[in-house]
Amino acid sequence: MNTDQLMTLAVNKNGFIFDPENGISYTVNETGLFILQQMQKGQQEQEIIASLCEEYEVLPDQVRSDLEHYCAMLKSLNLVED
């Protein structure tokens, strides 16, 4: 997954995201913020799943589809590419 665009986002600790390139802003919840932060650290899908499992004490199967859904949304917003 290409996360170049994601790396340019300004992410604040409350989940307010600002894209300085086009001026668009977004809000994400706590989990969404956690995933974005892992992506900005350069983690790939499997690593993010592992991080989520550790942080929220859940099993990989419980987060996999939600993460896929989240990534699809990021793709539709042109924030990540395949």
Binding site: P20, E21, G23
Partner: protein, 359 residues
């Protein structure tokens, strides 16, 4: 580069366009930015109407003078200016209204003879950015603009009816633009705008995409001394941006640099640009003066009005300081409380000299 400091200047700067409110002119924000740079000299406001609200704001203009409309010609304009010069010296004028910029350009020599400096484009540069010239001048230089039709009569709409794809934007030559969703709305807007601002009327294709506005000071040799791009976040029903955020987009900046280089623009201006869904940038308009949101430039670290004062005085400035993306502006309106005597002064005498207490 450090931000600009004008505290050493003991001069008088005149600025026009003091109306604020729902359709604000750029004069008040230009003055605020100059004062923010530490300017301690005198500010003179030029107004056309006693109800321009900036007249009644404290700490804006030390003196206000009513000016004749630019359409009355150079002679009454210079006569009025000479009268004002008998009351106060003026070192720099920053005009902020589209309709008055040409007269200041044409009178550059006469102004200089009176010790007044400006930092404005040449008449040729000014004319090339005219809405009716954009479609001819820019596309051959690789700068796309939306499909545009220049109409001298309403019959032109009928002739174009098979070609037009509604909605379209109907624009007056100098001011105002309305969206027309069908041919009868196009006629209505044509007639309203023609009655108000004269001919021709411009019909322009609507490009769907992200709209950006950029405030720029060009050096007159093809380079941008300063540039601050913003995306509007709050738009009023009149299409005015009442909120916006500074963006950092290298391809947008390169595009804007190309526009300024094509014109060799000198002085302040505002570009309106859309990034279409096809990923291409389109030039919508070039306004030949600071926009009313110019304080965003100062707020983001690039005080363009202060730079313009120095440039008018002949100072050589290199590139202005970098701006901070993410800087936000929100415009708000508030009621000013004043005394009727101030309105009396400006209405009857055409001038208002504020005492120390009134300032």
């Amino acid at each position: 580069m450090q931000n600009l400091n004008l505290s050493h200047l003991n001069i008088t700067v005149a600025v026009s366009g003091l109306k604020t409110g729902d359709n604000p002119q750029p004069g008040v924000p230009v003055i605020r930015s100059i004062r923010t740079a530490g300017f301690k000299g005198k500010i003179v406001g030029f107004v056309y109407d006693a109800m321009e609200s900036g007249i009644y704001l404290d700490c804006i203009a030390d003196e206000v003078y009513q000016m004749p409309y630019p359409s009355t010609g150079a002679e009454p304009f210079l006569m009025r200016l000479d009268y004002i010069l008998s009351k106060t010296k003026i070192d720099v004028i920053i005009p902020t209204l589209d309709s008055e910029v040409p007269i200041y350009i044409r009178l550059e020599k006469e102004l200089k003879e009176r010790g007044i400096h400006t930092f404005l484009p040449t008449e040729e540069q000014f004319n090339l950015r005219d809405k009716i010239k954009l479609a001819q001048f820019f596309p051959p230089k690789g700068i796309d603009i939306p499909k545009t039709h220049i109409l001298q009569s309403a019959d032109g709409i009928t002739k174009l009816k098979d070609e037009l794809e509604f909605p379209v934007i109907v624009k007056g030559r100098l001011y105002e633009a309305y969206k027309a969703s069908n041919i009868s709305e196009a006629y209505k807007h044509f007639n309203d705008l023609a009655a108000k601002w004269g001919l021709p009327i411009i019909l322009q294709e609507i490009i769907d995409g992200d709209e950006f506005n950029i405030v720029i000071v060009g050096d007159g040799k093809g380079k941008c001394l300063g540039m601050v791009p913003q995306r509007k976040l709050v738009i009023t029903d009149k299409g005015k941006g009442f909120g916006g955020v500074v963006v950092k987009n290298p391809s947008l900046e390169s595009y804007a640099e190309k526009v300024i280089a094509a014109l060799s623009w000198r002085g302040p201006c505002e570009l309106e640009i859309i990034k279409g869904e096809d990923g291409k940038f389109y030039l919508i308009e070039i306004n030949p003066r600071f926009p009313a949101w110019v304080r965003l430039a100062e707020g983001s670290g690039q005080n363009q009005p202060a730079a313009t004062v120095l440039l008018a005085l002949g100072e050589k400035l290199d590139t202005l300081p970098a701006f901070r993306p993410g800087t936000l502006f929100i415009r708000h309106a508030e009621d000013l409380i004043s005394d009727i005597s101030l309105l009396g002064d400006i209405s009857v005498n055409g001038e208002l000299i504020r005492t120390k207490e009134e300032k």
